[in-house]
């Protein structure tokens, strides 16, 4: 089963200089932190805070492509984790005129059937980094899903990765 998540915040990781996207479910029971690069973190923060840049950024360009070509984004799904890397996918809906799916119908046939505009919506899946997928989902207002499997696995694996990054001095300030 897939669980819908919302982007709660983008925070800076003082250890690595990277940014962490915090995803939460609606009941605030599940929390999924994903480490992303600086540029990707900014792209997500801009969308989250509704900041518009004077020039379209790269994710805005991708949105423009999808809008112009009329290929709607249905949802994004964070579907697996390997080591410390999360994998996501874009789920797009492509509508192709039925005629073009047939093997090169000759023009006469196409002209004879002007009413034959039956369309076949088809789901396209494209592999993406979660950061790009989330940046796009926020811009297009589509839901972000995560598989239960990822939520189950993230606990252990992600915590290990995080613990490895810790340095002794990170503990200091909180000593009493």
């Amino acid at each position: 089963m897939n669980i819908p998540l919302k982007v709660d915040a983008v925070v800076a990781d003082p250890n690595s200089g990277a940014q962490i996207v915090i995803l939460k479910d609606e009941q605030n029971l599940e929390l999924l932190p994903i480490w992303v690069g600086m540029g990707e973190g900014n792209a997500i923060r801009f969308a989250l805070e509704g900041i518009t840049s004077p020039r379209p950024l790269t994710h805005d360009l991708l949105k423009d492509f999808l809008n112009h070509l009329k290929i709607p984004l249905e949802k994004i799904l964070i579907h697996s984790i390997s080591g410390t890397t999360y994998y996501a996918s874009l789920h797009l809906i492509q509508t192709r005129p039925a005629a073009t799916t047939a093997a090169q119908p000759d023009e006469a046939v196409a002209e004879n059937k002007p009413g034959d505009l039956s369309e076949e919506p088809e789901e396209l899946t494209v592999d993406a980094r979660p950061s790009d997928a989330i940046a796009l989902a926020l811009r297009m207002g589509v839901p972000i899903y995560v598989t239960e499997d990822v939520l189950r696995k993230k606990g252990a694996e992600n915590l290990d990765a995080w613990l490895e990054k810790l340095k002794p001095k990170d503990f200091g300030p909180y000593d009493v």
């Binding site: 600086m38 540029g39 990707e40 792209a43 020039r55 379209p56 790269t58 994710h59 360009l61 991708l62 423009d64 492509f65 999808l66 112009h68 070509l69 290929i71 890397t85 874009l90 797009l92 492509q94 192709r96 005129p97 073009t100 396209l124 899946t125 494209v126 592999d127 993406a128 980094r129 790009d132």
Partner: protein, 151 residues
């Protein structure tokens, strides 16, 4: 009129803390420097050097979306210089129709290199070097900055 250009170099501009993409025409007469940000320079540099990243970067994702949908980029055109900002357009075909999409030159060039399509520059976008910025930049040039991507 359009002039076909190639990316001939990519360098750091310490004065503006930005990167400069050097486009040059086939006859080596016209040179167009375009200032871009660091992530965009990085995206272009990965494509120029043919570096494969384990996960798709943002421009790879755009290319992969277009490939999956069977849309093809035909060319990109740097169309004009407006208030010190270059504007460009990406031309593509999809389901027997042509589309034109506005873009920053950096994104357009990053995509052109990945899709292996020609980069055109409108003549009116090629300004004679006059700005202070360009002078400073020229002073900064070293011979080895040129030619790296010449074939």
């Amino acid at each position: 009129m359009l002039v076909q250009m190639k990316v001939r170099g990519l360098m750091f501009d310490p004065y503006n803390n930005a990167y400069i993409i050097i486009l040059r025409g086939e006859e080596n007469t016209d040179v167009l420097p375009i200032w871009v940000g660091r992530p965009e320079a990085n995206a272009i540099s990965l494509a120029l050097e043919g570096i494969f990243t384990p996960r798709p970067m943002t421009h790879d994702l755009i290319k992969s979306v277009l490939d999956t949908a069977d849309a093809k980029i035909i060319s990109i055109v740097v169309t004009e210089l407006k208030e010190n900002t270059y504007l460009s357009k990406i031309h593509l075909t999809y389901q027997d129709s042509e589309f034109t999409i506005d873009s920053r030159p950096s994104d357009a060039i990053a995509l052109a290199l990945r899709a292996d399509v020609p980069i055109f520059v409108a003549e009116e976008a090629i300004k004679k070097p006059s700005s202070e910025e360009l002078d400073r930049w020229l002073e900064n040039l070293r011979p080895e900055d040129f030619g790296k991507y010449d074939t």
